[in-house]
Amino acid sequence: MPHQLTGFTPTLMQKYLRNELIKYALVMVLVLMMFFIFSSTGIYEQLIQQPISSLFARSSALLLNLFGYDSWAEDMNIHCGDAVVSISKGCDAIAPIFLSALAIALFPKVRMRNKIKGILFVVLVLAILNLVRILSLVFSQLYYPEIFDFLHIEFWQFIFLVSSGALFIHWLIRNTNYDSTKVQL
């Protein structure tokens, strides 16, 4: 349809670029790529990855002690009996937490207060889930070392992906007016 003032008919590409959800998706992909590039730098490792991994290691060791297991944290490693689990890059849940928080933060036309609440909720749930992941990996190394690789990769990566998506969609449904008759994209 031609523009009211200019009489200019937008191309298909221009029409889509005006769509807020398309813009949202494009910005999401761009920021995610920038995040991955930033995550390869020394600054990221020193200031973000290592402190967060150490925090997870200390919290997991504390929980294991509460359960009666003699364990301690050393940098990013958790020692428990014969088991030593290292929280290396990719096992720190930073990427799924960042992804979900970014999806909420960038979503258009939602009040800032609702976004902040959503981000805090997602960070809390995924951080707790990561503690469960670390504990499950410690127990697996203690009792079922043969399933450690499967748990570490195929099980927990999938659970984190699905949980991040589910948490975002839950926030989306609660913070936007659901109307099945309207299709935006």
Binding site: G90, L161, Y178
Partner: protein, 231 residues
């Protein structure tokens, strides 16, 4: 306010379908002979299509199934001994300096000195896992069965293009890092692009890229359906 077309019921149905199918198919393939059959087929296809992809480098993917293999480079028949790798890997990538092999004149009975580079690979992570994930995502979508199959085929094709690009970047990096092989000549920006692509080689990125690619394919598929039904 934006109104996305979601409801708790459809989302829960989708997530349940996805989770059940994922935990049926992943262990059902990974811990059985199906995995090795699939990896051998993938390696067979790649060996057939990419063996001479690089001018002076011969490529051979050797499945770690403890079977010996024989390869032919020019007039020479080379024997590869059976291999057993760490459980994380399933394939040994052999890159041979073909130019060097062909320039030699072998005296019968003498062992041919071969300049090569060997790398351990996980074709499960590179090809099979993303394909199974795309299959589970596609069949969990609450649409007509035939549409699910079409969606799977479309997203699988798209994903294989991404996987192929990822695989080629691995090959180029390995060739250019090796002292035994003729390097692939690249411009400065191509070199930068390839070095940045390694950021997306981790398992977390494999899952994330598979999901993002599938969502993109789903959107195109639903959009195309919408346009077709209007006509």
């Amino acid at each position: 306010m934006i109104q996305p077309k979601f409801s708790y019921r459809s989302i829960i149905t989708f997530l349940l379908g996805l989770t059940i199918s994922y935990f049926l198919f992943i262990p059902g393939i990974k811990f059985t002979k199906i995995k090795w059959l699939a990896i051998e087929s993938i390696n067979g296809i790649l060996n057939q299509k990419l063996d001479h992809f690089f001018a002076d480098t011969y490529l051979y993917l050797h499945t770690a199934d403890q079977q010996p293999r024989q390869i032919v480079v020019g007039m020479y028949q080379l024997k590869l001994s059976p291999i057993l790798l760490d459980s994380k890997y399933d394939t040994q990538l052999n890159l041979l300096n073909e130019k060097n092999i062909l320039s030699q004149s072998k005296v019968s009975g003498e062992k041919l000195p071969v300049q090569n580079q060997k790398i351990q690979l996980s074709n499960w992570d590179l090809w099979l896992l993303p394909s199974i994930l795309v299959f589970c995502l596609s069949i969990a979508v609450p649409i007509l069965f035939i549409k699910r199959i079409l969606l799977f085929l479309f997203s699988l094709l798209f994903l294989q293009i991404i996987n192929l690009l990822r695989f080629l970047t691995i090959l180029i990096i390995q060739i250019n890092q090796s002292e035994n092989l003729s390097p692939v000549s690249l411009s400065l920006w191509q070199n930068k692009l390839i070095s940045y692509s390694t950021l997306f080689h981790g398992i977390e990125s494999i899952y994330l890229i598979t999901l993002v690619s599938w969502i993109f394919c789903l959107w195109i598929f639903l959009k195309a359906n919408q346009l077709l039904s209007k006509k």
